[in-house]
């Protein structure tokens, strides 16, 4: 009996607010509730689904999260494979953990100070004679391609996966497979490509999925470094919610529900994939 009460309490704490939020958003986005509600209506949904800005915002956010993650994970793999000494050094272990202490807000602030047209990099370029005017420096923040956001997110992901891969190489007994393959005549490149990388990625699969979701929903980095029209999904939702126009609220809830849908699809896909991996 006690266990069932605990399970119920757990479900109320974990799923309760989430479900309440989804139901409330559904009702609000369909005009069933809200200060300016005039009864059930799908106008907000029609507006959101036909709005080019919303579509571009979602596509851009998916692109930015994916490309940042690919760059961050690939760079981490490269560093871990090329630097065996990282695993043996105690000081290196401590040093690798320090970048994890950077909140996205501070990372984005530093990246802005480095990359904007009057930033440190632009000044260095000017002093080196590579640019002759502040305007010559390319726009790397709040730009159309979200270069600043991608760089910052990749740098945000990179240290986590370096630490993760270093730990996995230590505890997964990978060295035994590598030694066996080498004794059978495999070269370093072959062992990396056929054994180490596939094993590391298999271990990292779930974390990669979680990080994708974290980057997809990140607010602080695109808020400081990203393009504002169309903004990344989380910033777009923030803009809709904080506008003084109450008429925008149903649309804000509708976009939030679209975001929830994307997260749920990705979450279920990766959960399914994770079970398959664990079953192998």
């Amino acid at each position: 009996m006690k266990r069932y009460i605990v399970v119920l309490l757990y479900l109320v704490l974990v799923l309760g607010p989430l479900l309440a939020g989804v139901v409330y958003s559904m009702l609000y986005s369909t005009g069933s509730i809200g200060l300016l509600s005039k009864g059930f209506s799908l106008v907000a949904w029609q507006n959101v689904l036909t709005d080019d800005f919303v579509k571009r915002s979602f596509l851009s956010t998916i692109f930015v999260a994916t490309i940042s993650l690919v760059i961050g994970v690939a760079a981490a793999l490269f560093v871990v494979l090329k630097s065996n000494w990282l695993r043996r050094s105690g000081i290196a272990g401590i040093m690798l953990h320090i970048p994890l202490a950077f909140p996205p807000m501070v990372a984005a602030f530093l990246m802005f100070q480095l990359l904007y047209k009057g930033g440190l990099l632009s000044r260095i370029f000017y002093q080196l004679g590579l640019t002759t005017d502040i305007a010559d420096f390319p726009g790397l923040v709040n730009d159309n391609l979200n270069i600043g956001v991608i760089l910052c997110m990749a740098l945000f992901v990179f240290p986590f996966f370096v630490v993760f891969f270093v730990q996995k190489m230590e505890i997964s007994g990978m060295n035994r497979y590598v030694t066996l393959a080498a004794s059978l005549g495999a070269g370093r490149y072959q062992t990396d490509m056929k054994i180490v990388i596939p094993l590391l990625l298999r271990h990292a699969w779930f974390n990669i999925a979680l990080y994708w979701l974290i980057l997809f929903g990140n607010f602080e980095i695109p808020l400081i470094l990203g393009r504002q029209h169309p903004a990344q999904v989380s910033v777009l939702i923030g803009q809709k919610f904080t506008k003084y126009d109450l008429g925008d609220l149903p649309e804000a809830y509708a976009i939030s529900l679209l975001y929830v849908l994307v997260v749920l699809v990705v979450f279920l896909l990766f959960l399914f994939k994770n079970r398959k991996i664990q079953a192998i």
Binding site: K2, R3, V6, V7, Y10, L11, L13, V14, L15, P17, G21, Y24, S83, W85, S89, A92, I94, M95, L96, H97, I98, P99, L100, A101, F102, P103, P104, M105, V106, A107, F109, L110, Q113, L120, S122, R123, Y126, Q127, I134, Q167, E170, I171, L210, L213, I214, F216, G217, N218, F219, E220, S234, I237, G238, F241, Y253, S256, Y259, V260, F267, L271
Partner: protein, 254 residues
């Protein structure tokens, strides 16, 4: 060989230190006009202003209390609840559910559930921010504990009870000491989740319940670079110290 190893470590230390040095540089850069790489003069105005003529200390103290409370509450709740969940028939599904709140963007999650806090009068209060942050950090700790409750630990508990210990004595004398490292790790992780949180504090705190990270964004939005850099450096002190402790704990757990 030793020299090569030393050079590698020095390079790594320098790379890791670059962001801290840059922050320190920005915090003491007085007048810094384009295209100068170095400022015209150095100034400690931001450091003086932040700590002598500002309520930043007070906000920092409130953030420490808030994050510590989250860490203690989430860890204590997850310790007891996850122990019960691990004995449930559908424990795998129950644990998978815990990934959900953690997968959502805190700011969007906060916007979607803010009506609960408005109705209960908790919006714009520290209690509201605490409860909202708990909704994310608690499932995270459940996940952290999920793999800890294995057969070995269960057998130790059964052995203790078969030797005459009560359930209370078993938890205090057997389970708790065997879980202590994970508890410390959980305290650190949940402290950091709360310490880094911007989205929930922004939406549920509504700017009234101020936290250190909200204050930093305020300085960034005001283009008050020196203040933002100084506050960021101070904000980084607890996470850096905790990351080092966490590294030692993770090595031991592994």
């Amino acid at each position: 060989m030793k020299t090569k190893a030393r050079i590698r470590i020095i390079v790594l230390i320098n790379l890791v230190m670059i962001p801290f040095v840059f922050l320190l540089f920005l915090s003491i850069a007085g007048t810094w006009f384009f295209p100068d790489v170095l400022p015209g003069h150095w100034s400690l105005n931001a450091w003086h202003g932040l700590f002598l003529g500002n309520d930043f200390w007070w906000v920092l103290l409130k953030s420490v209390v808030l994050s510590s409370s989250i860490a203690i509450l989430a860890t204590a709740m997850a310790f007891f609840i996850s122990r019960q969940l691990s004995r449930h028939r559908y424990r795998d599904i129950l644990h998978s559910i815990a990934y959900l709140p953690y997968s959502f963007s805190p700011v969007i999650y906060a916007f979607c559930i803010q009506f609960l806090f408005i109705r209960s009068g908790l919006k714009g209060t520290y209690a509201g921010v605490l409860i909202a942050q708990l909704l994310i950090s608690f499932p995270f700790v459940v996940l952290l504990f999920s793999k800890h409750w294995n057969h070995e630990l269960k057998n130790q508990e059964i052995l203790s009870m078969s030797l005459g210990a009560s359930e209370y004595q078993t938890v205090v004398r057997v389970t708790l000491p065997l879980t202590m490292r994970l508890i410390k790790l959980s305290l650190i992780q949940t402290f950091l989740i709360s310490w880094f949180d911007y989205g929930i504090s922004l939406v549920i705190g509504r700017g009234i319940a101020q936290t250190a990270i909200l204050r930093i964004y305020q300085y960034i939005a005001e283009a008050n670079i020196a203040y933002a850099a100084t506050a960021s450096l101070v904000l980084l002190i607890p996470p850096v110290m905790l990351s080092i402790v966490q590294h030692k704990l993770s090595s031991n757990v592994a």
